[in-house]
Symmetry: C2
Subunit: 246 residues, 2 copies
């Protein structure tokens, strides 16, 4: 097997990185996912530097995370990533998260889109060599990101304006900051009593510095449907499956 | 020389981590400082796990950062840390940041306080072996954190309420989030035209989930004095020295 088919990066969770419930914050997990996807793409020669020469950048379009549990303070953990499939516009990339004892504690599915940086539209990857996208047949035993329905009229609504620290090098809002905006909707007590078993996120439209968006949240049982809209247009949709902490 | 006197961790700046000006965000730099201070303390046996057994935790009290430039996208960079001095209550820890070409691009000074986690007051480190605190005579050629004066009556004032993602495992506001709150005060245009040459931060009182604080900012020439207060009491003070981008 080509050693680049799978790519692994191991970390450990420092105390300073841990969230209020002493586990790995979901925002950090998404950050790590983006990080090792980038590292793997760089190693394959289809990373930031190569694509930038062609005016192309990878953008995270969808992510679904399903965790049995989250890494704990001072625990070693690893993320392993592989490409499940690709075509000239998209790349499906999966991840397994292993805990300190080596067992898999979660799986993640992502879809990446190649965008034309100047025109802000989908780019064409045909020019890149097929061999640079080594597909693995390792299964990723969680469901694909579903279509996320609109949030109904009974949702709670709150405004948020994006600031400097929300913006990334593409000059749009960092993928992780949308998630933080949504998680900030709930109280500490809610997080003390509930953990996120699964989350699905679909990124539809980019937001920019200074824009004010509406966050809409509707919870039904253990499921929360969330939407970030700007002028009535969906920018990001999320679905959270909560599980009571034991 | 004991190999633990200095501790180095190398990274590279991924595209996804970079800020809007394509450099390393100051918030990430502070996060890395906390991270490798933690790693060094762990390696010395005076880290989170050991201190937690004694009901003690390290808290960052002061930090001063002076950068010639910040790491760029895809640049390798290293942080090296060493203990400059300590007593039974505090530990002064310095850092050098080296860029991809191996030259030093910045220095950082920090002061850490050992606090009694339950009583939330300063703890006593006398019980820990002196040998665990190997002092280095490597110089840190930047000025110590100065006393930061009160922000005058002409300051701009805005409110902010701390949310879930602002909180760390100690159940107080994460050191980095105070900084993000302050940086979010300025426009994108300001950051396009100016870079932070030096920043001093003094952490006085912890803030908690749901608390509303006032951010006060007064700028005079290239210096901005900032204060985060809660009910009129200073929680955090910051001074930023701006430099026009060339």
């Amino acid at each position: 097997m080509d050693q680049n088919v799978e790519f692994t990066h191991c970390y450990y969770l420092t105390a300073g990185e841990a969230g209020a419930q002493s586990g790995m914050p979901l925002t950090l997990l998404v950050q790590r996912v983006i990080e090792i996807a980038t590292e793997h793409a760089n190693a394959l020669g289809i990373g930031y530097a190569t694509l930038a020469c062609h005016g192309i950048a990878w953008v995270l379009s969808k992510i679904s995370i399903e965790m049995k549990r989250y890494p704990r303070i001072n625990e070693d953990y690893c993320l392993t990533t592989w490409i499940e499939s690709y075509n000239r516009r998209f790349c499906d990339r999966c991840f397994a998260v292993t805990g300190g004892d080596g067992s898999v504690i979660g799986y993640i599915r992502t879809m990446w889109t190649a965008i034309d940086v100047k025109r802000r539209c989908v780019a064409d990857l045909t020019a890149f060599e097929q061999e640079a996208f080594p597909v693995s047949d390792r299964p990723c035993p969680i469901e694909k990101t579903p279509r996320l329905a609109s949030v109904g009229p009974l949702a709670s609504v709150q405004d948020y304006t994006f600031r400097y620290c929300d913006i990334d090098f593409n000059r749009h809002v960092n993928s992780v900051r949308y998630l933080a905006l949504v998680l900030n909707h709930w109280t500490m007590e809610h997080f003390d009593n509930n953990t996120i078993r699964r989350i699905d996120i679909a990124y539809h439209h980019e937001c920019y510095f200074g824009e004010t968006v509406q966050l809409r949240v509707a919870t039904n049982g253990h499921t929360s449907d969330c939407e970030i809209t700007r002028d009535g247009t969906r920018a990001v949709a999320l679905r959270i499956h909560w599980e009571a902490r034991s």
